[in-house]
Each structure stands twice: as structure tokens, then as C-alpha cells.
């Protein structure tokens, strides 16, 4: 393994990733679905070479925040900038990779593991999306990294929870994005897959990527994250994982009734 330096965006050893300013810069974002307030005045910056954990209970707005970052949802207020410019630029350059929540994937879709990972390469292909040698090599490499080489020809539904997650992580790796958004990558995943995914994400961060992980799984967090954000419709706390995971802080996000009352006060 090379480059174990982490957490220093301006380190010259981390190579080719532009290191001016934050990768993610969210300012005052508010998102409302009809009459549900999902995000309220959320501001957040994340730099390159950082792994940031996004913690909050179900319905706290983690997925909504990711979708807003990708431009799938237009916020009622506030701005999102990625790599210092409009998110559309980053998307067109293939710099944003998204690993969806498992519940949002149609696992009976007639695609093989390799086909899904290949979709990570579509952004750089010609109109027909015919794979070139370089694409196949990138896919082989990504499959190798997530330890799925032997299962490349399986239909995606014929995999365990951990293997399924690794398929989408491999797609993000094959895409060679500089910003990775992972929605609950550890839920329903076996210990060995967690290990593999953590190692990979750390090495992506070491290579200069910014990695955001939405999770309500606290055990893994200190191992993998440089920083953590406690989310409950708004950012309650943005600090080190250790600080965020202190019981009195977690209580803020996981006993929302309490927060709402203190809001009103």
C-alpha cells in the first residue's frame, strides 16, 4: 500500500487531485418535500483526502442531502458547489460517484456484476457506450479491489448483502471519481465486506478523493472517518468521530423530540 498520509489536502505527495478549497461546499441548503421539511439551513464543507461520516437516524435527511449534492433535488434555498464550481460541471467530468441505498436498487434486473461496474465508465465512453480496452481493464481492476473477480458473471441478485454493496463500490472505483457519496454502505453487510470497503475508501481518500458516508452504524465510524457530521434536518455537530459519538451528542440526533423542544425554546 502506498500513500498512507491522510487528512492533509495540500500534501504534495497526494498527487494529481486539485487541492484548492473544499471539494464539497454546501451553504444554507433547505429542502422541503411538499409539506415535509427534510433539510433546514444545512451548511457543510468537506475537503479532499477526507472521509466524512454523516450520522443521523432514519428520516434525518442523509439521502436527501446526497441527492441535493448530486443535483437530483433542487433546494428551496441555499447553494451547493462541488470542486469550487457548479455541480453540473463535476457531473459531466465524471467526478461524482454515487453508491445508492440497497433498498433503491432493483436486484432482479437482468444485469451481471460486470455490467453494473461497467456503467461506472459510461460517462467517458462514446455515444454507443462500447467498452474499450481501458474500460475493461478499469472494470477488472475495480472488481479485483472489491474481491468480486470470481463473481463477475453472476446476476446481481444472486449475491449476499455485502457482495451487493461491493458491486456498487466497484462501480464508483471504476468511474475514478474524486467525490464518493455512499448511502448506507454498511447496513446489512458482513464483517469482511465492511473491512474490504473501509480499506478501499481509505485508500481512495489517500489518493486525494473526498468520501462522504451516510450511516447509522457507529461502530465502523472511528476506524474509517476523519470527521463526522451529526444530522437531524440540520447540522447539529460537525467534529471528529470521537466527539460526535459521545452519548450526550448522539442523544441530540437520536432523541429528536428533545431537539425539537429545545428548538422551540
Amino acid at each position: 500500500m502506498t500513500g498512507t498520509t491522510i487528512g492533509n489536502a495540500s500534501d504534495p505527495a497526494t498527487g494529481d487531485v486539485a487541492d484548492h478549497g473544499p471539494v464539497v461546499d454546501i451553504a444554507g441548503v433547505t429542502v422541503r418535500y411538499d409539506d415535509v421539511l427534510a433539510l433546514h439551513d444545512v451548511s457543510l464543507t468537506v475537503g479532499s483526502s477526507r472521509v466524512c461520516g454523516l450520522i443521523g437516524m432514519n428520516g434525518s435527511g442523509k439521502s436527501t442531502l446526497f441527492k441535493t449534492m448530486m443535483g437530483l433535488i433542487r433546494p428551496q434555498a441555499g447553494t451547493v458547489r462541488l470542486f469550487g464550481s457548479d455541480p453540473a460541471h463535476g457531473r459531466r467530468r465524471g467526478e461524482v460517484a454515487y453508491v445508492p441505498q440497497a433498498e433503491n436498487v432493483d436486484w432482479s434486473f437482468p444485469l451481471r456484476v460486470r455490467d453494473v461496474v461497467m456503467m461506472g465508465r459510461y460517462g467517458t465512453m462514446s455515444m454507443l457506450r462500447r467498452s474499450r480496452g481501458v474500460d475493461r481493464a478499469a472494470v477488472d481492476d475495480a472488481l479485483e479491489q472489491v474481491d468480486l473477480t470470481g463473481l463477475a458473471s453472476r446476476q446481481i441478485g444472486e449475491l449476499s448483502g455485502g457482495q451487493r454493496k461491493r458491486v456498487f463500490v466497484a462501480r464508483a472505483i471504476a468511474q475514478d471519481a474524486r467525490l464518493l457519496l455512499l448511502d448506507e454502505p454498511f447496513s446489512g453487510v458482513d464483517a469482511r465486506s465492511v473491512e474490504t470497503i473501509c480499506q478501499l475508501l481509505r485508500s481512495r481518500a489517500a489518493a486525494g478523493c473526498a468520501v462522504l458516508i451516510a450511516t447509522h452504524d457507529f461502530d465502523v465510524l472511528p476506524e474509517i472517518a476523519d470527521e463526522a457530521v451529526l444530522l437531524h434536518k440540520r447540522v447539529l455537530l460537525h467534529s471528529t468521530p470521537q466527539t460526535v459519538l459521545r452519548p450526550e451528542n448522539l442523544a441530540l440526533a437520536f432523541m429528536p423530540a428533545e431537539t425539537e423542544r429545545s428548538d422551540g425554546a
Binding site: L72, V96, R112, M119, Y122
Partner: protein, 288 residues
């Protein structure tokens, strides 16, 4: 007469007639493009959308006849109107999408029926409802061939993008490929294939051609690329078989073609090698 000559006679029989050759051409082109498109429709869960578009084109066809325009133009316009209305009603009210589909297409279909009854009947509109593949004019033939070629090539060129859209539109968006545009493309292609299908089997059965082949192929394979080959192959085979039956048993060609497709689906539903019902029951019994 030897057995061989007899078989040749039976096989060649229908195609001695210009009418049957035209019917074959139209049905084969229609079943090809519809079958390819149906693969994405069944995977996205848009069967009801196929139903809607195919019924909603009726007023367009009637108006085109009244105005002396090619029926394809009217059908295509109303197919697009239906899709647009469905999307608008669903996204700007609290009505769910399937409800919106149900309201829009039945209303448009009813409008078509009213227009038919109000029209002095020079044209037999039964042909529109039930298909008139044995009365294909030169114009009809050209329309089918041109629309078939256009949609066929669009589907070929965009096939990977459409699969990406069907499987993971969010990822498409994330890598800068607009899912919105692919959705519109797919709906426009649906409207176009329905135009072709209704020439072959009529408005009422057109929906079968954009659902059944994809559903059948899905029973047989776990790979999209193979589905996109299996579906059109089976659909063409059913078209040919249906036309033979229609010729020798003197029954409705459109009906026979769709019946062949549906029957094949049910046969495979029962006995498909890996996912058939018989096989599943056996596996279940074996486990006990």
C-alpha cells in the same frame, strides 16, 4: 404428391399472395421494434404506460383520417399528448401515477369512440380498433417501414443508455447523462412503435406487442443483452406462426399473432428451464 411437396405447399402457400406478403412485412417490422422496446418497458414497470399510449392514439387516428393526413401523424401526436398529460396530471396534483394514466387514456379513448360515431362512415373504423393487416396500402407500408427503421436504429444506438436509465437513473444523472432526456426518448419511441403496432394488430391489441415479448424473454435469461435478442426473435416467430394460423384457419391475423405471443409466454411460464413454474415446484418439492 410426395410428403415433401405437400410440406412445401403448406409452407409457401400463404406467401403466393401479395396481400399476405404485405401483412408479413408489416407484422414482422412491428413485432421486431415493439419486442425490443418491450424489454425496457417491462423492466421499468411501464406496461400500463404502454397500454395508455396505445389506447390514447385513437382520436389522433380518427382526426388524421378526417383531415386526410397519414394516420401515423395523428397517432404519434396523440401518443405524445397522452404521455405529456399523464406526467403533468401526476406531478401537479395529488393523484398517483397509475390513476393519472387510467384517467387520461380512457378519456382519450372515449374521445376517439365519440369521434368515430360522429364521423360519416366512409372508413371502417373497426380496422383501426382491430387492425387491418390484410388491407395495407402503399402509404401504410411505407409509414411502417420508415418508422420501423427510425425507431429500430434509435433503439440500437441508445440501447446501453436506456438500460442505464431503466436500472439506475440516479447514477446516469451523477455521471452527466440526463435521465430526463432518456425518459422522453423512451416515451417518444413508445409512441412511434405503437403507431407501427396498431397497423399490424389494431389499437386494442397494440399494447400486447410492447409488453409480452419482453416479459417472455425475461423468463428465459438473466442478461439484458440476451433479452434484447431473444425478445425480437420470439416475437417474429410468433408473427409468422400467427399469420399461418390466420391463413389456414381463416381467423383474425392480429388476434392470431397476439394469441401466439401470449401462448408462448404461458408455455414458457410453465416450463422455462430455470425460472419456469414446473421447475420451481420441483425444486420446492425437492427441498422438503
Amino acid at each position: 404428391m410426395s410428403l415433401f411437396e405437400f410440406v412445401v405447399d403448406v409452407v409457401v402457400g400463404p406467401w403466393q399472395f401479395e396481400v399476405m406478403r404485405r401483412a408479413l412485412l408489416v407484422t414482422v417490422v412491428a413485432s421486431l421494434v415493439c419486442a425490443v422496446l418491450s424489454c425496457w418497458l417491462v423492466l421499468i414497470g411501464w406496461s400500463l404506460m404502454g397500454d395508455a399510449v396505445s389506447h390514447a392514439v385513437l382520436p389522433g387516428v380518427v382526426l388524421a383520417y378526417m383531415a386526410g393526413l397519414p394516420f401515423a401523424i395523428g397517432a404519434f401526436v396523440f401518443g405524445c399528448v397522452a404521455v405529456w398529460l399523464i406526467g403533468t396530471v401526476h406531478s401537479t396534483s395529488r393523484v398517483k401515477e397509475d390513476t393519472s394514466i387510467g384517467v387520461v387514456f380512457t378519456t382519450l379513448f372515449a374521445l376517439g369512440l365519440v369521434l368515430i360515431s360522429a364521423t360519416p362512415s366512409q372508413v371502417d373504423f373497426n380496422h383501426i380498433l382491430f387492425g387491418n393487416v390484410l388491407g395495407v396500402s402503399d402509404t401504410d407500408l411505407w409509414q411502417v417501414v420508415i418508422i420501423g427503421a427510425v425507431t429500430g436504429s434509435a433503439l440500437l444506438v441508445k440501447n446501453r443508455d436506456l438500460t442505464l436509465y431503466a436500472f439506475d437513473p440516479d447514477h446516469a444523472h451523477a455521471i452527466g447523462i440526463s435521465p430526463r432526456r432518456l425518459q422522453v426518448l423512451l416515451l417518444v419511441l413508445l409512441a412511434l412503435t405503437v403507431v407501427v403496432a396498431l397497423q399490424a394488430v389494431g389499437v386494442i391489441l397494440a399494447v400486447a406487442m410492447v409488453i409480452i415479448p419482453g416479459a417472455t424473454a425475461y423468463l428465459l435469461t438473466n442478461r439484458m443483452e440476451r433479452m434484447l435478442v431473444i425478445a425480437p426473435l420470439l416475437a417474429v416467430a410468433c408473427s409468422v406462426a400467427g399469420l399461418y394460423v390466420s391463413y389456414y384457419a381463416d381467423v383474425s391475423p392480429g388476434g392470431a399473432v397476439v394469441l401466439a405471443q401470449g401462448s408462448l409466454f404461458f408455455v414458457l411460464y410453465l416450463v422455462a428451464p430455470r425460472r419456469g413454474l414446473v421447475r420451481r415446484l420441483r425444486v420446492a418439492a425437492g427441498r422438503q
